[in-house]
């Protein structure tokens, strides 16, 4: 029996976003949405995390940080890109220091569109991330 679907621990990283998506991610933890109902914990520690939730695009300064966080997470792990900037670079795509979307740097499993992404769609993205996590766990087991 796999416990990954019952206990997905999340690491939230903000690339170069406007903070709109970050506020929506934190809204998921509030009483209205309460993702802890599903066993989700916002860990803040890559070594404990199963799902890397990235908001915003990558820029020259944070490419290594995103890669480092991803490498520090033990397998099986899943990346969820939240918001237009994380999925495609968004309105900042042409800024001189912006590299673009997250999958330019690390492999992304789930894309959550929206500007800003709604809490409902973020939770839906996490649920799809859990399915991907289960699939990866079956492959490695």
């Amino acid at each position: 029996m796999s416990f990954f679907s019952r206990s997905p621990w999340i690491l939230h990283y903000d690339g170069s976003s406007c903070n709109g998506c970050d506020i929506e991610v934190l809204a998921c933890l509030t009483p209205l949405y309460d993702v802890e109902r599903f066993g989700v914990i916002n860990t803040g520690n890559p070594k404990h995390a199963d799902i890397l939730l990235v908001t915003g695009s990558v820029n020259e300064r944070n490419i290594e940080i995103v890669r480092n966080l991803y490498r520090q997470m033990p397998d099986p792990k899943v990346v969820v890109a939240v918001g237009a900037c994380a999925c495609s670079g968004g309105i900042f795509a042409r800024a001189y220091n912006v590299q673009g979307d997250i999958d330019k740097v690390i492999p992304v499993d789930v894309y959550v569109p929206g500007c800003a992404a709604r809490p409902e769609s973020i939770i839906d993205g996490v649920v799809q991330g859990i399915a991907a996590l289960e699939a990866k766990q079956r492959m490695t087991a």
Partner: protein
């Protein structure tokens, strides 16, 4: 009944009790914050997942140290219920805690090292109390074992109200509750990432979690020593104390280590020492 059966019972059932307690804790905390909270068995799902997840070893010495930490924590309860001397039990308890500090210190990361240092400070804050508490219990009941204290006609909590109050304060440290959760916390986004456990992943973190369940059950056994009317009364008292701890955890914020040390030492000296002095003056 044979004390060996009690000891074996602790080793088998303490994690179940501790895990359920952690589950109730999370639900009650969530309700206090106006949320629904996770299922009751969530801590068991978490540990199950950690055991299935791949483990990254930063320093190979950490795993034997953490297994020893878990083993000594289980052994502390087994020794206590098995009829070993109370003060000896407290020293084994301190050794168990020290093994966790060594495991965290072996990781060579600033966060986990700072967590290890802070854990040493909270050990320094809590250990004098536990020794004094056991001395006081032995003094009042004239017995030095778990069974002996339960069989005593002297009611410990009535004679040692100061010790009971200080126990409530020090239990906050051992249960890793705010405002004393300076070395590790269950809540995210603290200044030390995850403190002690920052560099522990997969099954290493599961050992720490299991050891904490044993620790919670052990504190319940300590409470039974203080409420030695009967075991159910002691367990009920622990449940009330735990509810208070959850309330304090949700209502306070973390304090600096200096204040942790000062407040617990002051409580140990004034409440425990004062209590013993009062008994001495009254000629018991």
């Amino acid at each position: 009944m044979n004390p060996a059966i009690y000891a074996l019972g602790f080793v088998v059932f303490a994690p179940v009790l501790g895990g359920l307690l952690a589950g109730v804790d999370r639900i009650v905390s969530a309700r206090m914050q106006g949320r629904v909270g996770p299922p009751l068995l969530q801590p068991f799902y978490d540990v199950g997942k950690l055991l299935q997840k791949r483990t990254r070893q930063i320093n190979p010495i950490a795993e034997p140290l953490l297994i020893a930490h878990l083993g000594y924590m289980a052994a502390t309860g087994a020794l206590l219920l098995g009829g070993t001397d109370l003060i000896f039990t407290v020293f084994v308890f301190a050794l168990a805690a020290l093994l966790l500090v060594l495991a965290a210190g072996s990781a060579n990361s600033p966060f986990s090292f700072a967590g290890a240092e802070r854990e040493l400070v909270v050990l320094l804050a809590s250990e004098p109390f536990f020794i004094l508490m056991m001395v006081a219990i032995c003094k009042v009941t004239g017995a030095s074992t778990f069974e002996g204290v339960l069989a005593s006609s002297q009611l410990v909590a009535v004679q040692l109200p100061g010790v009971l109050l200080a126990f409530l304060l020090v239990a906050t440290i051992k249960l890793r509750k705010s405002p004393f959760d300076i070395s590790i916390s269950h809540h995210p986004h603290q200044e030390l990432v995850s403190g002690l456990t920052s560099d522990m992943s997969g099954r290493l973190l599961a050992y720490v979690e299991l050891a904490h369940w044993y620790e919670s059950a052990l504190l319940c056994a300590f409470m039974v020593l203080l409420f030695n009317w009967s075991v159910p009364v002691g367990v009920l008292a622990f449940a009330v104390a735990y509810a208070l701890e959850v309330l304090v955890d949700n209502a306070t914020s973390r304090i600096k280590w200096q204040l942790v040390l000062r407040s617990t030492w002051a409580a140990t000296l004034l409440l425990c020492g004062g209590n013993l002095l009062a008994l001495f003056v009254m000629g018991r």
